[in-house]
């Protein structure tokens, strides 16, 4: 076990101490509320209906997209082997998935969840995969730990970024969200507290997966009225195979620092997020988005960009492949509308104009060797139906 695992311990102790000092005792006659734990009422009070032990549900998206560029594939995630453009003029693979979810409440303080997703993945299939599976122990309602496969909340919508129904866009802004590492196998602890009118939630996480070892991070979300602020820091070791940085046969330490804010008073929303990733080079990415709700329609506008990398000192000189990889940069203007056409369903259509930087093919994949698309502009049109059940 890595030493970094233990970095979380002082945090846990501090959280525990502050709970003991400041929280009202958990009332044994009333139990917990958050997390849906089942309570028993005290004598003399009316007992409320119990929640069932298991709750089943799920969500999905059925969509298609089209790209005006046929010399490379546009993808929403770098784990996809093919996208829209060169491999096919129209494809469902960027925008289609189905997920089944079950939550279990096993005891007043113990709950768990399992989520299985079928979506387009590395091997080019839709074979169902265990996306998340974890067990949660709530010491008190505002302090819990989880063990298992966990979502990493790098961005505001990272944990739910597969749930199309949960946001206005067809997909979260790709220039930023393509950088998020979806999940890790490990442990986390979350402490929630009220600071005046605001609610703060801080999470410490440690985990491993095959391409990102010894990941640890701190994630904070502060909600004040209709505003949400988010900040996170995480680091991990990634194999140079994935980074292509000229350093061979090694695991390179890399880190993400991200901040974001959103404001959603009901009739409209605005949000923006930013990240800096450091490996042997550093890159910055950001987006800003706003939308307005008119009855069942939510038109929105987003600008996103991911900038070129600059090499950090202390590493061997980068190879040509590393320079090419670090140079990748692009920006996207997206215009779309969400239509809530019936309960638990939405329909969305989105137009993206993507501009590749002057010295890169951006984040396109499957561009044939020697094809130079520097500075190209192209558009992508996507339509999707999202649902929850």
């Amino acid at each position: 076990m890595s030493k970094k695992y233990f970095l979380a311990i002082p945090f846990l102790i501090a959280a525990g101490v502050s709970l003991a000092e400041t929280s009202p005792r958990d009332n044994p006659t009333t139990g917990t509320g958050k997390g849906g734990a089942v309570q028993s009422a005290a004598p003399g009070t009316t007992s409320l209906p119990d929640l069932p032990m298991f709750k089943f549900g799920g969500f999905g998206s059925l969509g298609v997209s089209h790209s005006s560029l046929d010399q490379g594939d546009y993808v929403l995630s770098n784990s996809m082997p093919k996208g829209v453009g060169r491999s096919s003029e129209w494809t469902e693979s960027n925008n289609t998935r189905l997920a089944a979810h079950v939550t279990g409440n096993f005891a007043p303080k113990v709950s768990g969840l399992l989520q299985v997703d079928a979506e387009y993945q590395e091997n080019g299939t839709y074979n169902p995969q265990v996306e998340f599976v974890n067990v949660k122990y709530a010491f008190i309602p505002n302090f819990y730990m989880r063990v298992g496969r966990l979502a990493i909340p790098t961005f505001i919508d990272s944990e739910n970024h597969d749930i199309g129904y949960s946001f206005a866009w067809v997909n979260p802004p790709v220039d930023l969200y393509q950088l998020s590492i979806h999940s890790t196998d490990g442990v986390d602890a979350t402490y929630r507290s009220e600071i005046g009118e605001a609610v703060n939630s801080i999470k410490a996480m440690y985990g491993n997966r095959s391409t990102a070892k010894d990941m640890w991070g701190l994630f904070d979300k502060l909600e004040y009225g209709q505003a949400t602020f988010h900040a996170s820091y995480q680091q991990r070791r990634s194999s140079t195979q994935n980074l292509l940085t000229g350093v061979t046969d090694a695991w390179i330490q890399n880190s993400d620092l991200s901040v974001g804010a959103s404001y959603d008073p009901g009739d409209w929303f605005a949000m923006s997020e930013w990240i800096q990733r450091r490996s042997t080079f550093k890159i910055n990415a950001m987006y800003i988005s706003t939308g307005y709700r008119i009855n069942k329609f939510t038109p929105y506008l987003t600008y996103g960009q991911i900038g070129p990398g600059s090499f950090l000192t202390g590493y061997p000189p980068p190879t040509a492949a590393a320079i090419e990889r670090a140079n990748r940069a692009q920006s996207t203007v997206s215009l779309g509308v969400r239509w809530d056409f019936r309960r638990n369903y939405d329909f969305k259509i989105q137009y993206d104009q993507v501009t590749l930087s002057d010295n890169s093919n951006g984040y396109l994949i499957n561009v044939p060797p020697g094809v130079i698309l520097y500075g190209s502009k192209f558009h992508v049109i996507s339509a999707v139906v999202d649902f929850v059940f």
């Binding site: 009202p24 009333t30 958050k34 009422a41 009316t46 929640l51 989520q115 949960s166 009901g266």
Partner: protein, 141 residues
């Protein structure tokens, strides 16, 4: 006499129209509860599961009314500033990330009032016309 015979049905008609078209939602707790009043922001946090206690530290059990009911829509649009799609989107995020579950659900104003009357930790929203001495109004949005 003629005048009265016209005015009375008119009044009844107007009153009926007002009562049906403008169900007036109020937020209530048990009359045994020590909570005297709440703001919209405090009520919102309780119903969205962002806090599990009243401002005085007492545990809070929110009780919802059925999806599609007029009183529910009015409560969430007036107090929480979310329509039914926004609320579904919010709970989809919370449920599927394992962060919590929506409030318990009871069938109507009377069922909610009865449950609240008997439980000093409960909080709900009912039509103003359903209020009696067993519950205390803590917010008139």
């Amino acid at each position: 006499m003629f005048r009265n015979s016209l005015i009375l049905p008119l009044l009844v008609a107007v009153a009926t129209f007002v009562a049906s078209a403008h169900a007036e939602v109020v937020v209530v707790v048990s009359s045994k509860s020590s909570v005297k009043s709440l703001t919209s922001e405090q009520t919102t946090k309780i119903f969205l599961g962002k806090v599990v206690t009243f401002p005085n530290g007492q545990t809070a059990f929110p009780i919802d009314q059925p999806e599609g009911s007029a009183i529910r829509d009015e409560f969430y649009s007036k107090v929480v500033h979310k329509n039914s799609s926004q609320l579904t989107a919010y709970w989809a995020k919370v449920i599927f990330t394992g962060d919590g579950r929506p409030p318990k659900l009871l069938a109507d104003n009377v069922a909610v009032r009865k449950a609240i009357a008997g439980n000093p930790n409960a909080i709900g929203y009912i039509d103003k016309s359903a209020v009696n001495r067993s519950v205390r109004v803590v917010l008139k949005p």
